[in-house]
Amino acid sequence: MTFKKHSIKEIEKMLHNNEITVKDLVESSLNRIKEVDDQVKAFITVDEENALKKAEQLDQQTNKDAKLFGIPGAIKDNIVTKGLRTTCGSQFLSNFTDPLYDATVVDKLHEAEAVTVGKLNMDEFAMGSTTENSSYQTTHNPWNLDHVPGGSSGGSAAAVAAGEVLFTLGTDTGGSIRQPAAFCGVVGMKPTYGRVSRFGAVAFASSLDQVGPITRTVEDNARILEVISGRDKMDMTSAHEDVPAFSEGLTGDIKGLKIAVPKEYLSEAVDPEVKEAVMNALKLYESLGATWEEVSLPHSKYAAAVYYIISSGEASANLARFDGVRYGVRSEKAKNMLDMFRLSRSEGFGDEVKKRMFLGAYALSSGNYEAYYKKAQQVRTLIKQDFDHVFANYDVIVGPTTPTPAFKIGEKNFDPMVVYARDVTTVPINLAGVPAISVPCGFSKDGLPFGLQIIGKHFAEQTVYRVAHAFEQATDFHKTLPQLGGAQ
C-alpha cells in the first residue's frame, strides 16, 4: 500500500470496498517514516504502538462512515495529546510525557476516527521560521535536504511532502503554517481567527494563534478543516459561526471572481522566479473567468514591527506558566524557590524565546506601554482597515506566500531587514485575523517549490478553498513529488 498518490476521498473508497485495511494504511505510514525520517527528521515522537492498536480496533468496526475513518495523520508538538509527550520543540518540556487531556482539535480528529501516528518537530514554542530553533533537531526539506522546510510548523509540512502521513496539523501565529507549506510544496491553511478552537494548543500569542491543516491537496485540506472547526466551550474566543462543508464547495467555478493583488506583496524583495509564477497564476485565473487588479495595503511595511511587539508581549505573559513546578524540567542547581524559577527558565528556554520575552516585557513595562504596545495595537487597527477597504471591492487577495523559495540550512540570515521582508506577505494576515491558504504554484530552477497565497474575508474559507482548488485542478504542481529515497 502506498498512499502518496491518493487523496483522502480515494482512500475512503478503497477502505469501503475492502481493497485495503486501516492497518495497511497505518503500516504504510509507519514504514515510510522508518524509511525516510532519518533524513527528513520531521517527527519528534512516533507512537507506533497506539497507532497500530487503533488501526486494528478500527478494522474490527463495521461502520466506516466517520469523516476521517482510518486516515493516518500527525500533530505539531505544541498541541497537547493525552498521554503522548508534548514538547513544543523545547528542552523545557522534554519530560512532559503525560499530558492530561487532548486538545479540542485532537479530540475532533479522533471523533472522526483519524489515526494519529506521532508528534512533529517545530521551532521552540513556535518562534522561528526554519525549525533550526528546535531543541531536538533541524527538519530537512524533502525537496532538497540541504534546505530548511520553513517554520515554525516545518515538521508538519515536511511530513506531508515526504509522504509520511496524509495530513498534519500546524499552528500559525505569523505565517507558521503557510510559509513551510510553500517551502515544502504542500497545501497549508491558516483559518480565520476563532474558526478553530485553541484549547490545548500551547499559547504563543493568543490574539494571533490559529490551528490549521497541512495536506497534499486542497480537497483533503478542506475536509480536515471541516472536522476541526467550530465553537468550543473550552475556548471563549472560538466563533459561533456555522461550519460549512468546505470540501463540497469545490466546484471549480470562479467566473466573475474579483481578485486584488497588493503591490506591497510583489516588491523588489520578491525573487523574479516567484513573481513570474504569481503572474502565471493570475493569467490562469483570467482564463477561468476571473479578473484581477493591483491594489495597495499601505500599512503592510509596518506589519512586522507591530507583529514583533504584540506577539512578543503576549508571549512574555503566556510563557510565565513554565516555572518548573507543575510540569517541565526543574534546574538541579536551585537552592531556593526564586532561584528555581530563574534557573529553570534560564536553562529551559532557548535563545530566541528569551530574546522575544525581553522585547515583550520591555514593550509592556511601565513607561513604555503607550509608546510601544498601545502604538502597535493602533497600527494593527490600520492594518486591518487596509484589508477591510480592499475586501469592500474584491473577493480575494492573491500574492506569493513567501518572497523566495526555501533557504539553506545554517544560512541564518539575521539581517533584520531580510527577515522582515519575509514577514510582509504572511504577518499582516494574522494581525487582521483573516483566513489564507498556500497552494503549490511552481518550482525554482533548482527544483524548490513556491506557494501562491489566497487570502479571504473573515470566515470566507469556502471561497478561499474554491479559488485554491480551481488553480490546483488547472495545474500539475501538486502531482510532482520530491525524489526522496525509498519505494514510493
Binding site: 514591527a305 525581553f358 513595562s365 502597535a376 495595537q377 497600527v379
Partner: protein, 97 residues
C-alpha cells in the same frame, strides 16, 4: 545605531521575567533588544491620533455561562507531570534562604 536600552534595564527585565542571565548574556540581549527597539521605532511615522487600539482579531463580547461544577482532573493526575511532589502537593525548594 542609537542605543536606548541599558544593560541595567535588561537585568531588571530579566528579574521581572524570572530568567537568570550571565554578564555575557546581559550584554548580548541588550544588543539585540536595542536593534529591535530601533526597528520598531518605524511605527512613529504612522499617524495614530484618534485610532482605537485593536486588542483582538474578531469582535468579541463578554461571554457568560452558568457556573457548573464538574469533574476535571484528580489530585493524582495534577501531580503526574510535576518534577517533585510530596503528600499530594507540589514540592519546591525553601522559599527563604
Amino acid at each position: 545605531m542609537m542605543s536606548h536600552v541599558s544593560e541595567d534595564k535588561v537585568k531588571q527585565l530579566a528579574d521581572m521575567l524570572r530568567i537568570a542571565v550571565t554578564e555575557e548574556e546581559a550584554t548580548r540581549y541588550t544588543e539585540h533588544l536595542n536593534k529591535m527597539v530601533d526597528y520598531v521605532k518605524c511605527l512613529d511615522e504612522v499617524d495614530t491620533d484618534g485610532v482605537e487600539p485593536m486588542t483582538h482579531a474578531i469582535e468579541l463580547k463578554n461571554v457568560m455561562r452558568d457556573d457548573e461544577p464538574k469533574q476535571w482532573i484528580t489530585q493524582e493526575q495534577a501531580l503526574k507531570n510535576a518534577p517533585d511532589h510530596e503528600d499530594g502537593q507540589f514540592r519546591v525548594p525553601a522559599i527563604l534562604d
